[in-house]
Symmetry: D3
Subunit: 316 residues, 6 copies
C-alpha cells in the first residue's frame, strides 16, 4: 500500500488529504510540482524544486524545509513506495505546499506553519490512453475561454481557466481533443497543463513565458533544439499562424511531447506527426533511455478498463 | 465536539478534509457558499443555495442532491452541532462542492461522484477583531494586483488574485487595511470577499456584477436602499471617483457592512463612518434583530488572544 | 424567371453579378439590406432603407437615388417577380450598394457612380431547415473568434469574423449549432447575422449596440417587450451570465426569433423553448398575421433535398 | 481585348464578374493575390501562390486546382492577353478565389465548388500618378481608424478598415497623403495595402506580422537589407518612434517602395527621400533590371487624363 | 493695469509667474479652474470651487485657505481689476493651485506651502474668433491621439494629450477644426477643453465621466435638458454613432455651447446648427440674460488683428 | 548668487519663473533635460541635447536656437555660476523649453516665440539622503497607478502619473520606498524618473522603450554591460518576473544606479545590493573617475537638516 508524506508523517494514500480550513483549500493558493522518473530515476528534480521554491517566495509562504532536505524527502517518499510499483512502472511524484490553515480557524485546525504533502504514484495513471496519440496526434481545440491567470509563471492550484477550457474541448466528439488557450489579447498561450510548440520551415516557435508557464519540458525541448541545430523563436503568435504551422506539439512532463495534427479540425501539414517532432522525440528518448511512445503504449496494452470515464483528465 | 458532513458521513471537524486527488484540490474548482445566522436562524439560505447550484451548473458539476435536500442537510448539520455553541454565538455554515477525485486517480481514491462537505462553526471566528472597525472604519488599500477572475459571478476556490491582494495590503502598518481590487481596465471591482459601495450626495454607487461577485449582502443593501428611498446606481467607477465619495463601505455576509473611512490613507468625508452607512446598518440591525456592531464587539471583548497571527484573514 | 435590378437595367437572376473591379468586390465595402414580407407585404421597409442610407453616409458612398425612389424601386422589383413565387411564398428582397468600380480600372470597367443591385427571391431559401428549430431550439456555440468589426452598426460585407465563427461552430456535430461571438473584451456580442436575447426572471437582456448590429428584429422585440410589459435591459453581459439565463433566443429578419436551448451544450432552464420566447413569438405572429413556425415547417415539409450541403448558411 | 479566366472559361474583362450570391460577395471572404512582372516576367509567383493557398486552407476553401496548375493557368492567362499590352507595359495579374455561391442560393446560382478568377491588366493603371512620389515622397496620415482585421496575415477582401482609413486620409489637401493605420494598442501597423519601414541610424525597423500582412515586398526588402549588410529589426513601434525616424517608406508589389518624407505633416530627416531608401531601391532596380522610378514616371508622362478622379486608389 | 493675486501679494499680470522649481512647473500637477461672468457676475463659482477643492484632495495638496475665503479672494481679485474692463466685457477668472516648490529646491526657492495664483482678464481673449462658429458650426476632427489622462475628472495641467490632439487637428485647412479625442477603447471622450453632446431623434447623448471631465457647462446642459423635457443619456458612444447623430455640439464655460456641423468633413444632418442646439442655447441665453452668440460676435467685430496667429488656442 | 538664463537674459535663480500664460504652465507641455557633471565636467551633453531637440520636433515647438548654440549656452550658464559651487560639488543643469505664451494671451504676456530657461544648481540637492541607499538598497513599491503617458519617449512635464505614484509609495513607512509603475497591460514600466533593470542568472533585463523613457543612464548601463560581457535583454517583464530576479536596480542621471533590494517588501536574492549591480557601478565609477556612493555619502555627511520634509522628491 502506497504511503504519502503529510506534514511530518507518513499516511496511507487514501488518507492524503487537506483540511477544508487550509488556505490551499480555501483559496486555491497551493504551490505544487509533479515530477516523473525515467527508468525509475527522477528527472530534473532540481529544476522542479527551484520552481517550487520560487513560487513559495512569490506567495510569501514560509519554506517548510530547506531545498536540499526537500530533495531528500522526495527520495525518501519514493524509496518507501517503490515496492508498490511494477518493474516497468515509472514514478509520478507530487509535491503540494500551502500556507496551512487560516489563522481564524485555529480552533478547528490547530496546525501551525505550512502544509507539505509529497506523494508518489504510478506515472501510467496520468498517461493512460495517451499511447495512441503518439501515432494519431491530437486535435487542439482553441476554446473561447481565455488564459486569465494572474500568475502564469507559478505552478499553483487556482486553475479555473483550465477546467473551463477542458470542458469546452470535451464538447467535441472523440478522445483526441485537447484544449488550447489564447491569452487575453488573442495570442496562443498554452494547453491546460501543457506548453505548445509550432514548427514552420524547420524552425520552432513557442509562446514567451509572459502568458504561459515556463514548463520544464518546454525548456528541455528548447535545449534539445539547440543540440539539434534547430532555431527556436520565443514570442507571441496568433491563431492563424498556428494553423499555418507545418507541425505542432504539446510538451508536458508525463508524456514528453505529443504531436498536434490538427487545429479545430484543420489538418496541419499532411495531418501526420511531423518530422521535427520525431527528431526531437528521438533525441529525448535516447537521452533518457526510454522510448516514450512504446512505454506508454505498453502500459495502455495492459489496461483492462476504458479510459476517459471522467472527461477531465489532469495532464500535469 | 463539532461534526462535519462529508460525503454521506459525519466526521469530526478536524477530519474534514479533501483528498489531494480531488479536482477541488487540484484545480481550485470547488464551488462554495458560507452562510451566517441571526439569532441562530440561518439567513437567506435560499439565495445562497441558488447561487451554489448555479455555480455547479456553470462548472458542469453534477448536483450531489436536490436543492431542497441540501437545505435539509444544512439544517441537520446545524442541529447536530448547536450544542457546541454558546448562547450568544451565531452559526457560520460552509458548503463546499467539487467534482470529486479525477478519474485517473481512481486507484488511489475510489470515490465516485461529487464531493460535498457541510460544516458549521462559530461566526465569531470569522469576525474576530472586526468590532473596532465599526467605529474606526477601514483603510481600503487599492492594490496593484488586478481582479483577473475568469468567473467573477461564481463563488469558487480559484482565488489567487485575492491572496496576492491581501498580501499587498498587509504591507501597510496596522490592522485596519483591507485590500480593494481594480478590474482589468482600472475600475473599482471588489474587496477580497467583500463588495464595495460608495456614497455621494446621499446616493449609493456599487460596481456592476460583470467584474465582481453578485454578493448576497450587496443585494440586501440594494434592497434596503430601496426601502429607505435611497437611489442606488450600479455601474463602473474609477479610483478617483472612489476617493471623491462622501462615504464608502464594504459588505459581506459575516459582518454586514463595515465603513471605509479612508482610501490609501486619504480620508473620505470627515474620516468617520458616514450617515448613510449608519442609516443602512440601523435598518439592517432592526430587520434581523441583531446589532452587528455590538454583537461583534461583545465577542471581541471575550477573546483572550490577539487577532491577526496570520495576516491573511478569510473574510467570507 | 426572376429578374434583378442592376444599375438601371433588369437582368436575369443568374446575371446578377458584380465586377471584380468594383470596390464592393475589392474591399468588402458594399452596404446592404435584406428584407422579408409577411403575407407578401414587405415588412419595415422604411427602417431598412433608413439604415441603408445611414451606412452610405458613413462610408461616403453617393446615394444612387433618393430614398423614396429606392422604396419605389424595391416595390417595382417585387412586382416584376411576384409571378415567379408560389402563393404560400414570402419575398426576400436584397439591396446591395457599393461605390462602384475603382477609378484606376476605368478602362476595364467604365461604369461611373455607385453600383446598385436589388433582387427578390423566395424567403424559404434562407430559412430552409429552420422549421424544426422552433421546437428543438438551437445550441449556441461560443466560438473563440472575437467580434472585431470596426463598424458593427453598419450592415456591410466585410464579414470575415462571421465566416470564421461559422466555421468553428460547424465543427460541432449536428445541424442545431449556431455560432455566437464575444466582443473583444469577452462580453456577449451577437450571432453571425442574428442578435441575441437572454431572459432571466422574466426580464429581457440584450447587448448594447456598441458591439453588435442594431438589428431591426432586435428593435422589434424590444418594442414587443414594451407592449407585453416585459422589462428589457440593454447592456453588456458575460458568458457566464448567458449560461445563467432561464431562456435565450436569436432574432433575425428571416425567421423572427429562434430559441436557444443550450450554450456549448449546457442546457438553459429545462432545455426547452422558454415561455417568454413563446409569448413574444405569439405576439409577433399575431401582429404580422403569420405563424412563423408553421410557415417555415410547411416549407420544410415540401422540400425534397436535404439542407446543409454547404455548412455556411447565410442567416441574413 | 483582354480576356479573363473565370471558372473554367475565358470571358471579356468587362464580363469578369462575381454573382451576388457568391460567398465572396456576401461576406468579403474572397482570398486574393496581385502580382506584377518585371520586363514582362512574373515576379515571385511561387511566394504569391503559397500565400494564396495558405489563405484557402485557413478559410477552409477547397483548392480549385493544384498549386502547379494554378501557376500554369496564370501563365496561360498572361499569354492570352499579352498581345493587348504595349512593349513598355508590365503585367498586373489578379487571382481571386472564393468558396462559391452559398448553398441556399443553389436555385439562383447553380455553380458548385469554389469560384476562381484570374485576370491580367496593365500595371500602369495601379501606379498611375505615383511617379512623382519617388522624388517628392509621401505624407503618411496616421488615421484614427485602428487596424482591426481579425486575419491580418491572409490577403482577403474584408477590408473595411482600409476603406475607412483611406477616406480619413483623403480629407487632407493634396495627392501625396497615404493612410497609415495603428493597431488596436496604438502601435504602427501598416498602410492600406502597403507595409511600412522606418530607418534610424542606418537600421531598418518594420512591424511584426502579428498586426500586418507579411507582404512579399516587405520580405524582399528584408532580404535586400541582409545583402546590403543593413540590420533590420522586426517589432512593435509607436507613433512617436515613427516620427523619430530618419527615414521611412512604404513597400508594395506594384511600386516596390515609396519614400515617406513626412508624418502628419512633420518632416522626417531633411524631408527628402532618404539614403537607405535609395540604396535599397538601387539594389532592387538592379536585381530586377527595371528602374521603378523611371518606369512609372515614363508611364505618367504618357497619360492624358488627370489621376485621382476617385480618391480611393487600390494600392495592391 | 490688471493685477494678479500670487501667494499673498498682488502683482502686475506680466509678473504672474511660477517658479521653475515649483511642482506645478515640474510635474504639470497644478489643479486649476477657469470661470466666466455673465453681465459681470461670476457664474457657478461654488461648483468651480468644489471641483477645485476635490482636485486638491485627490492630489493631497494642502488647501491654501478655506473654500469660503477662496470665494472671497476671487471676488476681491475681480473687484481690484474691474476698472480695467470695458463695460461690455465679461470676466475670465483663473485659479491655479500647486503644491509649491519641491523640498529639494528650498535653497533656490524658499517658499513654503502651496502656490496659489488668481487672475482675472477679459473673456473676449479666450473666445476671440468664435463668433462666426455659432452660425457656421465646427468641424470635429477625430484625431488618432487617444485620451490617456490618468485623472480625467480632475482639472489639472498634465494636458499633453490635448496639445497633441490640437496639433493634429491643426493640420486641416481652415479655422473651424476642433480636435475630438476617443478614449483608449475607441469611444468618444471629449474635446480639448470641451465636452461633447450628440443629438439623435431629439434625445441628447454625452459620454460618461469615466473618460472625460465632468464639465460644469456639461452639467448645466444636462440640467437645461431636464427643464426642456429632453431625455439625456450618459454612456459610451462610438465614432460611427457620432456620425449618425442629427446634431452635435461642444460645451465649455467660455462659449456655452458651439454647434458641430460636421465630423471629419461628413456633414451632420443638413450641415447647419441643429434645432435642439438652438433650443438649449435659447434657454441658456435667457437664464443668464446674455446672448452668447451676439456677445462674442460683437467682440469679434471690434477686434483689429486676425485670430489664430498661434494655432493652439486654449479653450478653457 | 546663482543666475539663470531665461529668454535671452540672466536673472537671479529666485526670479527663474514661467508666466502662467505660457503653454508650458497651461498644458504641462514643456520639454526638458537635466544633466549632471562628473568632476565638474558635463556628462553626455550631446545625448541630452539630441533628446531635447527630438522632443521639440515631436511637439512642433520651434527650436529656440541651433543645437550647437544651445551647447554653448549650457556651458556659459555653467561658467557664470561655477563660482557659487564648492570644490566638491557637481553641477545639475536644467533646460526647459516650451512653446511660449498662448496667442490668446498676447495682451497679458507679449513674448513671442518659445520660452527657454537654463539653470545650474548643485547636484547634491537632488541626491540628498540617497547616500545610504547604495548600501541599504531601495524597496520598490509597485503602485496601482499605471503608466499612462501618451508620449513616454519624450521627457516632458505632463507627469501626473508620477506624482500619483509617488504619493502612493509615500504611504509606506520609511524613506527607502520608491514607486515603480506598471504599464497599462500590467508589465513593468519604469520608476518616476528612473529606469529599472533586473538581473537573473547574471543577465540583465530592462523594459523596452515602448512604455518607458529611453533614459541616458539606461543606455549607458546597456553599454557598460556590453563592455563587461553581460548579456542584456530588452523586452516586457511582469511583476512576478521582477520578484523572481536575483537583483534589480534603478538608473537615473543624478545617482547613476541604486540597488533595489526588495519589491513590495519581498527581498530580492539575499536582500543585499547584488554583485552585478556592484560590477556595473565599479565600471561606471572608474570611467567617470567619481565614486558615486562616496560622493553622495560625503555630501550627506555635510548636511545639517533632515531630508524628506517634502515626500515628493524629484529624481530627475
Amino acid at each position: 500500500m502506497r504511503t504519502v508524506y503529510l506534514n511530518g508523517q507518513f499516511v496511507p494514500e487514501s488518507e492524503a488529504k487537506l483540511s477544508i480550513f487550509d488556505e490551499g483549500s480555501m483559496y486555491g493558493s497551493t504551490v505544487f510540482e509533479m515530477l516523473r522518473s525515467y527508468n525509475q530515476q527522477h528527472w530534473k528534480m532540481d529544476e522542479h524544486l527551484d520552481r517550487l521554491y520560487w513560487g513559495l517566495k512569490v506567495l510569501r509562504i514560509p519554506e517548510p524545509m530547506p531545498k536540499q532536505d526537500m530533495a531528500d524527502l522526495c527520495n525518501e517518499v519514493t524509496l518507501k513506495n517503490c515496492g508498490e510499483f511494477q518493474s516497468d512502472d515509472e514514478f509520478r511524484l507530487m509535491i503540494n505546499v500551502s500556507r496551512g490553515p487560516l489563522g481564524i480557524y485555529r480552533d478547528a485546525c490547530p496546525q501551525k506553519g505550512p502544509t507539505l504533502c509529497v506523494s508518489c504514484f504510478p506515472l501510467k495513471w496520468t498517461v493512460a490512453g495517451m499511447g495512441a496519440l503518439y501515432d494519431e496526434g491530437l486535435n487542439a481545440v482553441v476554446v473561447n475561454q481565455r488564459h486569465t491567470d494572474c500568475l502564469p509563471n507559478v505552478k499553483h492550484r487556482s486553475r479555473m481557466p483550465f477546467i473551463l477550457a477542458n470542458q469546452q474541448a470535451a464538447q467535441m466528439a472523440g478522445l483526441r481533443n485537447w484544449a488550447l488557450l489564447l491569452d487575453q489579447e488573442g495570442f496562443v498561450a498554452e494547453g491546460t497543463g501543457a506548453n505548445v510548440f509550432m514548427v514552420l520551415n524547420d524552425q520552432l516557435y513557442t509562446p514567451d513565458p509572459n502568458h504561459c508557464l515556463k514548463g520544464i519540458s518546454r525548456d528541455h525541448v528548447l535545449g534539445l533544439a539547440q543540440e539539434l541545430d534547430l532555431y527556436a523563436d520565443v514570442g507571441r503568435y496568433n491563431y492563424y499562424e498556428l494553423i499555418h504551422s507545418d507541425e505542432a506539439f504539446f510538451t508536458g512532463t508525463p508524456f514528453g511531447a505529443l504531436p498536434i495534427t490538427s487545429i479545430d479540425g484543420i489538418p496541419l501539414g499532411d495531418g501526420q506527426p511531423g518530422s521535427i517532432y520525431k527528431k526531437i522525440m528521438a533525441a529525448w528518448d535516447k537521452e533518457v533511455r526510454v522510448n516514450h511512445r512504446e512505454q506508454i503504449q505498453d502500459w495502455d496494452a495492459q489496461r483492462h478498463e476504458p479510459v476517459g470515464s471522467s472527461p477531465y483528465v489532469s495532464k500535469n
